[in-house]
Amino acid sequence: MKIGLQDIYLNRNMTIKKEELETMIIQAFPEAKVEIIDLAGDDNHYSLIITSKRFSGISRIDQHKMVYEALDGKMGNELHALTIKTLVN
């Protein structure tokens, strides 16, 4: 679908549903404990807390990169604001 300026102003097609976000994360991290909060109720500002043993021994930057990879390029595009906190269990 073509996205017009109007859509961008109105934020149409530039959002992601919580369920979709959750599915992408769980698919990439089936072992993890995942908590997602829709911060503003606008499908656009989320907080993600993800706990996985796969983060063990990996730098914070690379842990976050693993999460971004799971989101398959959506971060910074459809997904505007996602606060990420990675924890190791």
């Binding site: 914070r60 930057i61 976050h64 990169k65 971060m75 910074g76 604001a81 606060t83 906190k85």
Partner: protein, 107 residues
């Protein structure tokens, strides 16, 4: 692929000062809450930094994401190395790690 000149410009920016922040807006007038958070933390720590407003340069805005393989702005560089975006800098600040890491440059 990023233009060679853009990459050179980025390398120059991240190596000219100990701390360089790629942000939306300026330290006095941040145009994004995440950029603002990093500015506030660095100011609180008395850590001098230079900055680039990516909203003024689309090539740098896209180039920096490719340079660090990191999809979002702000991005903080310390001694030429990417050390984190807003979440990581905030976490490092809260744990005291950031103050420790930046101790050489804090006034």
């Amino acid at each position: 692929m990023m233009d060679k000149n853009i990459k050179e410009e980025i390398v120059e920016k991240v190596s000219q000062d100990d701390l360089h922040l790629f942000m939306k807006g300026t330290p006095l007038f941040p145009e994004c809450g995440f950029s603002n958070t990093v500015v506030q933390i660095l100011t609180y720590l008395d850590a001098p930094f230079s900055s680039t407003n990516v909203l003024e340069n689309e090539d740098i805005r896209e180039g920096i994401k490719e340079y660090s393989n990191w999809p979002t702005i702000p991005q903080l560089y310390f001694k030429g190395e990417f050390i984190g975006g807003c979440d990581i800098i905030k976490e490092m600040f809260e744990s005291g790690e950031l103050k420790e890491e930046l101790k050489d440059v804090i006034i």
